[in-house]
Subunit: 124 residues, 2 copies
DNA sequence: GGGGAAGTTTACGTTAACGTAAAGTATTGA
DNA sequence: TCAATACTTTACGTTAACGTAAACTTCCCC
């Protein structure tokens, strides 16, 4: 019998509101089981939530995260769709590469800024 | 005599609308000179715009980018403020580190997804 | 058995980041 | 000279991603 989570538990763990989690479900990013009215989250649901929040930290929209979630599941036996999926994966990879490059540029700019700030401090 | 740019030139170069560029000015991120009514952008203005768009690709808000721009200029001779600036720089650096880690996790997840997709394709 | 505490639905409100349209000015090329 | 281009300001509209509030049910505890 595998572990489950309540919406409140997940909200606390990831520091989001329950409203946020329900909103993600509304947008089709999560589909927890129900015990009566109450939502019951599986470890897989929790992983999905984690994926969404990781995406948010990288500036992804919920639509992009939904796409990412779909990439992470087979979900098709159609050749065309699988090929299209490979393409979307490649596109995402390219986007991540660009973000990585952007981060590196920003890091060296921060290095510069810090050096100049320290320089200004020694001049006081 | 240093080069200048019109708003249209910059818009074309960076693939944004002129509305967007004016909006950034409205938000205090850009302050081009004027020739009469018309905005005239310096190479420094262009660099600032590039910084903003790089931030956007990383999911930064305009407020964050405004802060980044300020980090990139001395702008103070007050010890307290310089120390505070160093702190903000350190914070940004930490954020970039986390984003970098997030990207790496996502990259290996994409690797998995691609492998599984190729596997599904060979099974057809 | 009477509160809390945690869950639910429904619905209106809010903010950021522009889009879109209207109406006017300035320059430029046929 | 006139019509197309590129610029300007002003102002209302739009979308994503929730926040906030109200009104309700369920469960647990003393």
């Amino acid at each position: 019998m595998t572990k489950t989570y309540s919406i409140g538990e997940l909200a606390r763990e990831f520091d989001v509101t329950t409203r946020t989690i329900r909103f993600y479900e509304d947008q089709g990013l999560l589909s927890p089981r129900r015990r009566g009215q109450t939502r019951v989250y599986s470890p897989a649901d929790r992983t999905t939530l984690k994926l969404i929040l990781r995406g948010k930290r990288l500036g992804f929209s919920l639509a992009e995260s939904r796409d990412l979630i779909r990439m992470y599941r087979p979900a098709s036996d159609n050749r065309q769709q699988l090929e299209a999926l490979l393409q979307r994966i490649a596109d995402k990879r390219a986007q991540l590469e660009r973000q990585l490059a952007d981060i590196q540029v920003l890091q060296t700019e921060l290095d510069d800024a810090e050096a100049r700030t320290r320089q200004a401090l020694t001049g006081l």
